[in-house]
Symmetry: C2
Subunit: 339 residues, 2 copies
DNA sequence: TAAGTTGTCGAAAACGTTTTAGATTTATTT
DNA sequence: AAATAAATCTAAAACGTTTTCGACAACTTA
């Protein structure tokens, strides 16, 4: 059961290791006869090149790193699946790490991945990442990194995102089109670009329709949890009875708002329309079923890998690497929580 | 920005590579002075050993493979998180692959991981895996593998599981204790051991309480989907009006049954108690909230890595590897869908 | 026949580390 | 002072691959 190596093949055939290697890779300075002999023996011994040796020699590991803020999360799990799926097709394997939305972990894990000689990194920024030196240095050195979902405009590199502004605009516009006049917004933690952009989209839609923007009906859900939503529901019921729609940053919080309002006997969607964001599994389970914006996690993962792959190839071929930003389309999924 | 290597350190210090290597590892045949010089230079140059070279030389990659049936799934995502978390603590990285419940993929991906020189594999069997030769050969050769969650009794190796029989027994017993007399069971696909065990637990509880087992109220949910559950709800409503409780193989299907029955104006839990299995996020969102059995995914992932780690160490130390089966405790989570 | 061409091969270096076995120097013992 | 022991170092092989460069033979060409 010992491992088959080039050396073994060379010895049994009475030729050199170099020739065996070249025969297997169809170099044209080895005769057809030798090639045939080598190939058939390699096949019958089920020879598999040693990946570590290849990596060491070729300075590439055919492995990429994927840093996820939170694995146990429908959207991010979809991303993992998408990345793995796309990577497999190109012969790449994926090492997944979780930053837990912590800047320190994020930094450490990037280092870990670099130490492991990954060929590139896919990264979604932790919410509290504010200092980008660790990234910009890396990118300047030419190391392939692509940012997905939670990005920042302050870093110059390739990115894969959805258009949060547009998506939020469309969601809000839909609420307006269906007769809602007083639309509250539940936003996430302050820093991430996604929070900001969805908020801007919401505001733009109001403006476009000459609806006055009222800062007192914009709520922050610090943990984006169900409970956050429930609390906000009570607040709305108590102090903002005229609210007839809620557009939330994410499905879970939207569900919290919905559950909270239902407990207060508010009729959904007759009295208040609820719009979520992401299209998680749970949107099909709430009652009424939650209207939402589909955020294509699997596709985003696939696309992110593709962009990274191109950069890895370009860098190897010493072609100039062009940074690009890919914007994935979202779409409204209208169910029963909106009029 | 060129990589710092032992060679570079050796050259600037005017000593040999061997000494540098040994100095950094505190071998006792290098003088304290040399050690100090080497260490301080290494530190100031921020020397990081090349992982590939180390792996090649030491014949260990400090990387393990994790094969998951389905990543986008609350329970399995928790497992991934648990494994990564435990692995990190021991300096191991995790390559995740998805089998998609396909036997062929499972085989291919094991090979992929072996080609990549992973030090061990964590595996949950695909539903349609029936032939275990690819595994038993590997295990016999001494390669560390541990099976988690979806296991088989036909393979002799370490395993990390919950006690499905006991968990199902307790769930059923709870239904009986709360006055249910006619308890239906929704089982999963026929093959997996988990399906069989939960079914046995259900039957045992009936027997223990002198309740007649009625095969006509055992239903199969082939895809374990929400829709499967809804269909079964209709069937129950139509032909088995005397059913006053349903114990389902998994939360999503339980939810399907619940949604289906609610649509037929059956009162939950007054007329029918519903018990799920797994304790996914969604159980807190259904209305009424779903009672279920907590299946500790994160812990299972952690534990699975620990067992694998021990095997890797033992094997390296040439200690005899003892296979063991770790059984993780489950517990009933009673919410509002049961009386 | 001398020079050039072509086809086929292998030695050796390289990737960066670890470790064995031996070499060299210094210190200790008789 | 010679023999032995201890302390410190290094050469070299090893892990398994890839690729450059040159060697050699056989065949063409002038």
């Amino acid at each position: 059961m010992a491992k088959i190596t080039l050396k073994k093949i060379a010895e049994t055939l009475g030729i050199s290791v170099a020739t065996v290697s070249k025969a297997l890779k169809d170099y044209d300075d080895v005769s057809p006869e030798t090639k045939a002999k080598v190939k058939s023996l390699a096949e019958s011994l089920n020879y598999k090149p040693n990946f570590l040796a290849q990596s060491l020699r070729n300075q590439e590991s055919k492995t990429i790193g994927l840093i996820i803020p939170e694995i146990v999360h429908h959207f991010f799990a979809s991303i993992i699946a998408g990345v793995i799926n796309a990577a497999k097709k190109k012969g790449y394997l994926v090492i997944t790490l979780q930053s837990g939305e912590s800047y320190d972990f994020e930094k450490k894990q990037i280092e870990l991945l670099l130490d492991k000689n990954v060929d590139g990194i896919l990264l979604s920024l932790a919410d509290n990442t504010v200092d980008y030196m660790h990234l910009s240095n890396l990118i300047e050195s030419g190391f392939p990194i692509v940012l997905y979902d939670k990005i920042t405009k302050s870093i110059h590199c390739s990115k894969v995102v959805i258009n949060d502004q547009k998506a939020a605009f469309n969601a809000t516009q839909y609420l307006i089109d269906t007769g809602c006049k007083k639309i509250a917004h539940v936003r996430g933690p302050l820093k991430p670009q996604t929070t900001i952009d969805r908020f801007i989209g919401y505001k733009n839609a109001l403006k476009e329709n000459d609806i006055e923007f009222d800062t007192s009906i914009v709520f922050e859900a610090p943990h984006l949890s169900l409970e956050d939503g429930q609390k906000i529901a009570k607040e709305i019921y108590k102090n903002h009875k005229d609210v007839d729609a809620v557009f939330a940053f994410t499905d879970l919080t939207a569900t919290g708002v919905m559950v909270g309002l239902k407990e207060l006997n508010v009729k959904i969607p007759e009295e208040v329309s609820i719009m979520g964001f992401s299209n998680w599994l749970l949107t099909r389970i709430t009652s009424p079923k939650l209207s939402t914006v589909n955020q294509p996690g699997f596709k985003m993962g696939k696309q992110a890998f593709k962009v990274l792959y191109k950069e890895i190839k370009d860098r190897k071929a010493k072609t100039k690497v062009e940074f690009k930003t890919v914007e994935l389309p979202t779409k409204l999924v209208i169910r029963d929580s909106t009029r």
